[in-house]
Symmetry: C2
Subunit: 99 residues, 2 copies
Amino acid sequence: MLNKSPDLNHLFHALADPARRAMVARLTLGPAPVSELARPLPMSLPSVMQHLAVLESAGLVSSHKVGRVRTCAVQAEALQLAEQWISATRRQWERRLAE
Amino acid sequence: MLNKSPDLNHLFHALADPARRAMVARLTLGPAPVSELARPLPMSLPSVMQHLAVLESAGLVSSHKVGRVRTCAVQAEALQLAEQWISATRRQWERRLAE
Protein backbone atom coordinates (compact mmCIF):
# COMPACT_ATOMS: atom_id res chain seq x y z
CA MET A 1 0.00 0.00 0.00
CA LEU A 2 2.81 2.42 0.83
CA ASN A 3 4.49 3.97 -2.16
CA LYS A 4 8.04 3.67 -0.85
CA SER A 5 9.50 5.62 -3.73
CA PRO A 6 13.00 6.34 -2.47
CA ASP A 7 13.25 9.08 -5.09
CA LEU A 8 10.43 11.11 -3.58
CA ASN A 9 11.73 10.53 -0.05
CA HIS A 10 15.17 11.80 -1.00
CA LEU A 11 13.82 14.61 -3.15
CA PHE A 12 11.54 16.10 -0.52
CA HIS A 13 14.18 15.61 2.17
CA ALA A 14 16.70 17.47 0.00
CA LEU A 15 14.25 20.35 -0.52
CA ALA A 16 13.47 20.66 3.22
CA ASP A 17 16.54 22.82 3.89
CA PRO A 18 16.87 26.54 3.01
CA ALA A 19 20.56 26.29 2.06
CA ARG A 20 19.85 23.43 -0.31
CA ARG A 21 16.88 25.27 -1.83
CA ALA A 22 19.11 28.34 -2.29
CA MET A 23 21.70 26.19 -4.07
CA VAL A 24 19.05 24.70 -6.38
CA ALA A 25 17.59 28.17 -7.06
CA ARG A 26 21.07 29.51 -7.93
CA LEU A 27 21.69 26.60 -10.29
CA THR A 28 18.48 27.26 -12.21
CA LEU A 29 20.33 30.34 -13.53
CA GLY A 30 23.04 28.08 -14.96
CA PRO A 31 25.87 25.77 -13.82
CA ALA A 32 28.20 27.13 -11.13
CA PRO A 33 31.39 26.10 -9.34
CA VAL A 34 31.02 25.08 -5.69
CA SER A 35 32.84 28.23 -4.60
CA GLU A 36 30.12 30.37 -6.18
CA LEU A 37 27.34 28.30 -4.61
CA ALA A 38 29.04 28.68 -1.24
CA ARG A 39 29.66 32.44 -1.40
CA PRO A 40 26.20 33.69 -0.29
CA LEU A 41 25.70 30.93 2.27
CA PRO A 42 26.45 31.61 5.96
CA MET A 43 28.38 28.38 6.48
CA SER A 44 31.74 26.68 5.97
CA LEU A 45 32.77 25.04 2.70
CA PRO A 46 32.61 21.55 4.27
CA SER A 47 28.98 22.25 5.25
CA VAL A 48 28.22 23.35 1.70
CA MET A 49 29.82 20.12 0.43
CA GLN A 50 27.58 18.11 2.76
CA HIS A 51 24.49 19.86 1.42
CA LEU A 52 25.75 19.28 -2.11
CA ALA A 53 26.09 15.56 -1.34
CA VAL A 54 22.44 15.45 -0.21
CA LEU A 55 21.35 17.23 -3.41
CA GLU A 56 23.43 14.86 -5.55
CA SER A 57 22.14 11.74 -3.84
CA ALA A 58 18.57 12.98 -4.41
CA GLY A 59 19.38 13.45 -8.11
CA LEU A 60 18.63 17.18 -7.96
CA VAL A 61 22.18 18.28 -8.78
CA SER A 62 25.03 16.76 -10.74
CA SER A 63 28.65 17.86 -10.62
CA HIS A 64 31.89 17.25 -12.43
CA LYS A 65 35.43 18.21 -11.55
CA VAL A 66 38.00 19.66 -13.92
CA GLY A 67 41.35 20.28 -12.26
CA ARG A 68 40.48 21.81 -8.92
CA VAL A 69 37.11 23.19 -9.90
CA ARG A 70 33.91 21.20 -9.26
CA THR A 71 31.04 22.59 -11.35
CA CYS A 72 27.43 21.87 -10.40
CA ALA A 73 24.27 21.79 -12.51
CA VAL A 74 20.61 21.38 -11.63
CA GLN A 75 18.80 18.22 -12.82
CA ALA A 76 15.36 19.49 -13.70
CA GLU A 77 13.86 16.00 -14.16
CA ALA A 78 14.16 15.48 -10.41
CA LEU A 79 12.37 18.77 -9.69
CA GLN A 80 9.69 17.65 -12.09
CA LEU A 81 9.20 14.34 -10.26
CA ALA A 82 8.54 16.16 -6.98
CA GLU A 83 6.27 18.65 -8.73
CA GLN A 84 4.30 15.83 -10.37
CA TRP A 85 3.55 14.11 -7.07
CA ILE A 86 2.32 17.34 -5.50
CA SER A 87 0.26 18.50 -8.45
CA ALA A 88 -1.34 15.07 -8.96
CA THR A 89 -2.25 15.01 -5.27
CA ARG A 90 -3.66 18.54 -5.39
CA ARG A 91 -5.64 17.76 -8.55
CA GLN A 92 -7.16 14.69 -6.89
CA TRP A 93 -8.34 16.94 -4.08
CA GLU A 94 -9.81 19.43 -6.57
CA ARG A 95 -11.64 16.65 -8.40
CA ARG A 96 -13.17 15.58 -5.11
CA LEU A 97 -14.30 19.16 -4.40
CA ALA A 98 -15.89 19.35 -7.85
CA GLU A 99 -17.98 16.20 -7.32
CA MET B 1 20.25 35.61 1.25
CA LEU B 2 18.78 32.39 2.60
CA ASN B 3 15.04 32.16 2.34
CA LYS B 4 14.48 30.58 5.74
CA SER B 5 10.79 30.00 5.13
CA PRO B 6 9.88 27.65 7.96
CA ASP B 7 6.75 26.71 6.05
CA LEU B 8 8.69 25.23 3.15
CA ASN B 9 11.12 23.49 5.50
CA HIS B 10 8.28 21.83 7.39
CA LEU B 11 6.27 21.12 4.26
CA PHE B 12 9.03 19.35 2.37
CA HIS B 13 10.10 17.51 5.52
CA ALA B 14 6.53 16.31 6.02
CA LEU B 15 6.35 15.07 2.41
CA ALA B 16 9.66 13.17 2.67
CA ASP B 17 8.03 10.11 4.25
CA PRO B 18 5.96 7.49 2.38
CA ALA B 19 3.47 6.97 5.25
CA ARG B 20 2.82 10.70 5.46
CA ARG B 21 2.42 10.96 1.68
CA ALA B 22 -0.02 8.03 1.81
CA MET B 23 -2.03 9.82 4.51
CA VAL B 24 -2.16 13.03 2.46
CA ALA B 25 -3.12 11.09 -0.68
CA ARG B 26 -5.95 9.33 1.20
CA LEU B 27 -7.21 12.66 2.54
CA THR B 28 -7.45 14.16 -0.94
CA LEU B 29 -10.41 11.76 -1.38
CA GLY B 30 -12.15 13.40 1.58
CA PRO B 31 -11.85 13.75 5.37
CA ALA B 32 -11.22 10.54 7.32
CA PRO B 33 -10.96 9.42 10.94
CA VAL B 34 -7.49 8.50 12.19
CA SER B 35 -8.49 4.82 12.38
CA GLU B 36 -9.17 4.80 8.64
CA LEU B 37 -5.88 6.56 7.88
CA ALA B 38 -4.07 3.99 10.01
CA ARG B 39 -5.72 0.87 8.54
CA PRO B 40 -3.56 0.43 5.41
CA LEU B 41 -0.32 1.51 7.12
CA PRO B 42 2.09 -1.16 8.40
CA MET B 43 2.64 0.53 11.78
CA SER B 44 1.14 1.05 15.23
CA LEU B 45 -1.49 3.67 15.99
CA PRO B 46 1.00 5.73 18.09
CA SER B 47 3.31 5.85 15.04
CA VAL B 48 0.43 7.02 12.88
CA MET B 49 -0.33 9.72 15.47
CA GLN B 50 3.31 10.87 15.32
CA HIS B 51 3.14 11.14 11.54
CA LEU B 52 -0.14 12.99 11.87
CA ALA B 53 1.51 15.47 14.25
CA VAL B 54 4.22 16.17 11.65
CA LEU B 55 1.57 16.72 8.97
CA GLU B 56 -0.41 19.03 11.26
CA SER B 57 2.61 21.07 12.30
CA ALA B 58 3.47 21.53 8.60
CA GLY B 59 -0.07 22.77 7.98
CA LEU B 60 -0.81 19.96 5.52
CA VAL B 61 -3.54 18.36 7.61
CA SER B 62 -6.03 19.65 10.16
CA SER B 63 -8.02 17.53 12.58
CA HIS B 64 -10.87 17.88 15.02
CA LYS B 65 -12.16 15.52 17.65
CA VAL B 66 -15.81 14.74 18.33
CA GLY B 67 -16.27 12.31 21.19
CA ARG B 68 -13.61 9.68 20.67
CA VAL B 69 -13.23 10.17 16.93
CA ARG B 70 -10.54 12.44 15.53
CA THR B 71 -11.30 13.35 11.90
CA CYS B 72 -8.56 14.62 9.60
CA ALA B 73 -8.72 16.77 6.49
CA VAL B 74 -6.11 17.85 3.96
CA GLN B 75 -5.17 21.54 3.77
CA ALA B 76 -4.65 22.10 0.08
CA GLU B 77 -3.16 25.60 0.49
CA ALA B 78 -0.08 24.00 2.05
CA LEU B 79 0.30 21.60 -0.86
CA GLN B 80 -0.01 24.59 -3.16
CA LEU B 81 2.79 26.46 -1.36
CA ALA B 82 5.19 23.56 -1.90
CA GLU B 83 4.06 23.19 -5.51
CA GLN B 84 4.58 26.91 -6.13
CA TRP B 85 8.20 26.85 -4.94
CA ILE B 86 9.04 23.88 -7.16
CA SER B 87 7.22 25.13 -10.25
CA ALA B 88 8.71 28.64 -9.95
CA THR B 89 12.17 27.10 -9.64
CA ARG B 90 11.62 24.80 -12.61
CA ARG B 91 10.25 27.69 -14.72
CA GLN B 92 13.33 29.77 -13.92
CA TRP B 93 15.46 26.92 -15.23
CA GLU B 94 13.34 26.68 -18.40
CA ARG B 95 13.65 30.44 -18.98
CA ARG B 96 17.41 30.09 -18.76
CA LEU B 97 17.36 27.23 -21.31
CA ALA B 98 15.28 29.36 -23.68
CA GLU B 99 17.73 32.30 -23.66
